[in-house]
Amino acid sequence: MGRTLPSATQVFLQEEAAFARFRRALRRSDQHALDDLFSSSRQHLAAAQYASHALPFEVFLLSMLLEEHKEVVRMRQLLEEHLSRQP
């Protein structure tokens, strides 16, 4: 039951490993932030697989952006709720 091509998860892990030197040179706190970015990208592996893009890292970057944007929207909502409660 072999596959010819690696799965999205395998590609993701390879890409993440390729940034090991970059990660190592970052400050500890930045390393955590980078890990968060990769973790958020991982939420969309199914979609990345289905996209079958020739350059998968583009899809992983877009996934990171997507999760970041969700955070922005969520925080904007919280802020608006907070501001609307101000007298």
């Binding site: 091509l5 400050r27 973790s39 079958s52 020739a54």
Partner: protein, 777 residues
């Protein structure tokens, strides 16, 4: 004068000149009959070589009847394509309809000599293409007369010779008529791998007694008398293949006392060696086999999936795959599905290639990227969710093959289903291919059983039978998809395999779109199932519109697996922000529990830990809904603490701490021996052998080598047990189920979560996927 006999077909095997049949007659007698039968194989190649083969065969000692004829070869276009053919095929993106090939049909009049003749043919004419050469006689007979093991038959006899054979039942009946099988059970009083058995426990009907093993002569005399008196149709054993029957046969030879294990005493007992193979990325060990003639021998420890479906499942496997019951019990579902395809091929005059020589159709890199994918596996939304519907496509992949006519020989329209968004998904045009032809009756039977199970009362006595039958079918249907992409499968073809997954992805995405159009939230999707939630939807009728919409959009049946009072999707143990697809647990509205991927489901979890985890879930299942979890949580926590107390104070029986792991390779191949390998080394020192694929049971112990194999002759010292290690494993299993519940009860805020057993604080505890609790500078 001819006589008529009705009864059940028990066994079919070759004798020197024709076939022997055993029939359980309606008169209660066991009839030994013979039947003339011609086995056929085909050869194809250049006309001149076929003429030479004809002449050669005419001079052989095996009597044959020869004829030139035409037959369908589904891979004819693909066998050994030239470069021009290959590029033309790439342009067409598919296969052509099967073409007729001219073949030399060799009818072998003494079927038992087929193998011998074929071997000589291969040596003399290795360049020819052969078909139907290695199909078992039992399958050929089943295909020719449309019969199967335990088929109800009407036989016309002249003396002991069968003149005609007519099936009176079909393997597709939901409830086969019960067969009056006489069963004798033989089991040693202890696992021979663990200790030397002292007695043999014999039981049949309501009789049960012990025969001491030390007096071999007395044992053989008593057993022979029992076999003759009770004359069983089926000998059920424990470790019969690997220990008991070889032991009895050797004792019988040494003492010169015949033991009528075979009902047909003119035939030898059939012994097959152990073998090891890879399947689905796992190493599998099949012990040696001892098969009987005229009656069956089944060893419950050497039967595939015995724990899943037991004897009824084995009989059903034999019925639908038409292999002998002794083979059906011991062979994988893959062999079962191949057998079914062979019978379809034989009955439809389709050639079965002896060696498939078909290569993958050339395709572009982009096409490969788009097609080389499996099913869609999403990352679930981690955490506890309430009132969640689990909905599943019913036998999705086999359903796709049947509904959309996916088969190696059926030309695909060359259309990717994902490009037909919004349109109806249509089956490939033309006659149904060999795969849909084979699967349709099996799928229909499974669907009928499933719908019967839905309507049957919970305590109905037919329920376990139906469940065993459905479970046997499930494995055949699961494997069927894998075999479509397996290069050695006779009717496999990677493009057909890829087409199935393409339809699967399209169906799942259409289901997602249907759910989202109706305002459901998708919590998780896994190949053929979805977990959806919508405020106010709590009972089955609330989901009917969704199910109907999905069926309309996909053309595939979908059903409600159940509604969970609550379900927890778990994150990865390494990184709590990363969800894991198939790791969850939940409680349905009827109080039943479903778990996947957690410790209780794993084979290498000590029974004490697995039982504790399940007991905690049972306590949690008492909560009527997710809100009531707050009330039962303290009980569950108290239970976990009591269990931990038992573990620490040594009150847990040693057997409950046994860990069972599979040896994944030969001992010499380990660079760092796993605990299982270290345990096997201890067994080797004690003179016992364990082969790759076999399980080894051991305890974790203090100091080196850290394990103690259970099956060494010396019992383990209870004081050497590595309690801290068991405690870690115990706490991990308890936290898997209790932490998400605690988080939910505490309002889903992680940093307020009170761990029952706090994890190592040197590792930061990350927030859930929707909240980041760590300060980011």
């Amino acid at each position: 004068m001819n006589t008529i006999l009705t009864g059940w077909l028990l066994d079919v095997y070759p004798n020197e000149t024709n076939l022997t049949l055993w029939v359980i007659g309606d008169d209660g007698q066991r009839h030994r009959l013979v039947q003339d039968f011609t086995a056929r194989l085909y050869a194809a190649g250049p006309a001149a070589r076929l003429r030479q083969l004809w002449q050669w065969l005419s001079g052989q000692p095996v009597p044959v009847h020869l004829a030139r004829t035409q037959r369908r070869d589904v891979f004819h276009e693909q066998s050994a394509p030239t470069a021009a053919e290959a590029s033309a095929a790439a342009g067409r993106d598919g296969t052509d309809a099967p073409q007729l090939v001219t073949v030399l049909a060799v009818h072998i009049l003494q079927p038992a000599r087929l193998e011998e003749l074929f071997r000589s043919m291969l040596t003399a004419f290795p360049d020819l293409t052969y078909y139907d050469a290695d199909i078992s006689l039992a399958l050929r007979h089943a295909a020719a007369f449309d019969v199967f093991p335990l088929a109800r038959c009407r036989l016309e006899l002249r003396g002991q010779k069968v003149v005609s054979l007519l099936p009176l039942s079909s393997p597709w009946e939901i409830e086969p008529e019960p067969v009056p099988l006489r069963i004798l059970t033989l089991e040693p009083d202890t696992d021979p791998g663990h200790a030397e058995p002292q007695a043999l426990v014999v039981s049949h009907d309501r009789v049960r007694y012990r025969l001491p093993l030390h007096d071999r002569t007395q044992l053989l005399v008593s057993l022979a008398a029992e076999l003759r008196r009770h004359d069983p149709d089926l000998i059920m054993t424990a470790w019969g293949d690997t220990w008991l029957l070889p032991f009895l046969l050797q004792a019988s030879r040494e003492r010169g006392l015949p033991l009528p294990l075979n009902r047909d005493e003119s035939q030898p007992v059939l012994e097959r060696k152990e073998h090891i193979y890879f399947s689905y990325g796992q190493i599998v060990y099949r012990g040696r086999q001892v098969q009987l003639r005229g009656r069956w021998h089944l060893d419950c420890h050497n039967a595939v999936l015995w724990n899943d479906y037991a004897l009824q499942g084995v009989l059903e496997m034999a019925r639908v795959t038409r292999q002998s019951a002794q083979d059906a019990a011991r062979l994988s579902p893959g062999t079962g599905i191949s057998s079914m395809q062979f019978v379809t091929a034989l009955q439809h005059d389709i050639l079965i290639p002896w060696h498939k020589q078909q290569a993958e159709t050339p395709k572009t890199a982009m096409d490969l990227l788009r097609s080389d994918m499996g099913g869609m596996v999403y990352q679930p939304t981690v955490g506890l969710h309430r009132d969640v519907a689990g909905i599943d496509f019913v036998s999705m992949y086999p359903g796709i093959m049947v509904r959309f006519n996916i088969s190696p020989e059926v030309p695909r329209a060359g259309k990717d289903p994902s490009t037909s968004s919004g349109q109806r998904l249509e089956p490939a045009p033309g006659e149904p291919g060999i795969i849909p032809l084979t699967l349709a009756p099996l799928l229909n039977k499974r669907l009928s059983l499933k719908s019967a199970l839905l309507t049957l009362n919970r305590h109905d006595c037919r329920r376990p039978l139906y469940q065993a039958l459905a479970s046997a079918h499930k494995w055949l249907l699961v494997t069927c998809f894998g075999y479509l992409g397996y290069k050695n499968a006779r009717f496999g073809r990677i493009e057909a395999h890829e087409a199935v997954t393409a339809y699967g992805r399209e169906a799942l995405l259409r289901a997602k779109e249907a759910a989202e159009d109706l305002d459901y939230e998708i919590l998780h999707m896994y190949v053929d199932g979805l977990w959806v939630q919508k405020a106010g939807c709590k009972s089955p009728p609330d989901f009917e519109a969704l199910l109907a919409d999905i069926t309309a959009r996909t053309g595939l049946p979908i059903s409600l697996d159940g509604i969970y009072r609550w379900v927890v999707f778990l994150p990865s143990r390494v990184n709590s922000r990363v969800p894991v697809p198939n790791r969850y647990f939940g409680v349905f509205q009827d109080g039943s529990i479903k778990v996947r991927g957690i410790e209780a489901r794993r084979h290498d979890t000590a029974p004490f830990i697995a039982e504790t985890q399940m007991a905690i879930l049972e306590i949690l299942a008492h909560a009527e809904d997710a809100d009531a979890l707050r009330e039962v949580l303290p009980q569950a926590q108290a239970f976990a603490r009591r269990q931990l107390g038992k573990l620490r104070s040594g009150q847990v029986p040693v057997e409950k701490l046994l860990v069972s792991q599979k040896l994944s390779r030969e001992l010499g191949e380990y660079s760092t021996p796993s605990p299982a390998a270290r345990a096997v080394r201890q067994l080797q020192v004690a003179g016992k052998s364990v082969r790759p694929g076999q399980r080894v049971r051991f305890l974790f112990t203090l100091g080196k080598p850290g394990v103690c194999a259970w099956d060494v002759p010396r019992p383990p010292d209870p004081h050497s047990i590595d309690l801290p290690r068991y405690r870690t494993l115990f706490e991990r299993a308890v936290d898997t189920v209790l932490t998400p519940i605690q988080q939910s009860v505490n309002g889903g805020v992680d940093n307020e979560c009170l761990y029952l057993f706090p994890p190592d604080r040197s590792l930061p505890v990350f927030g859930s996927s929707s909240s980041i609790t760590r300060p980011v500078r």
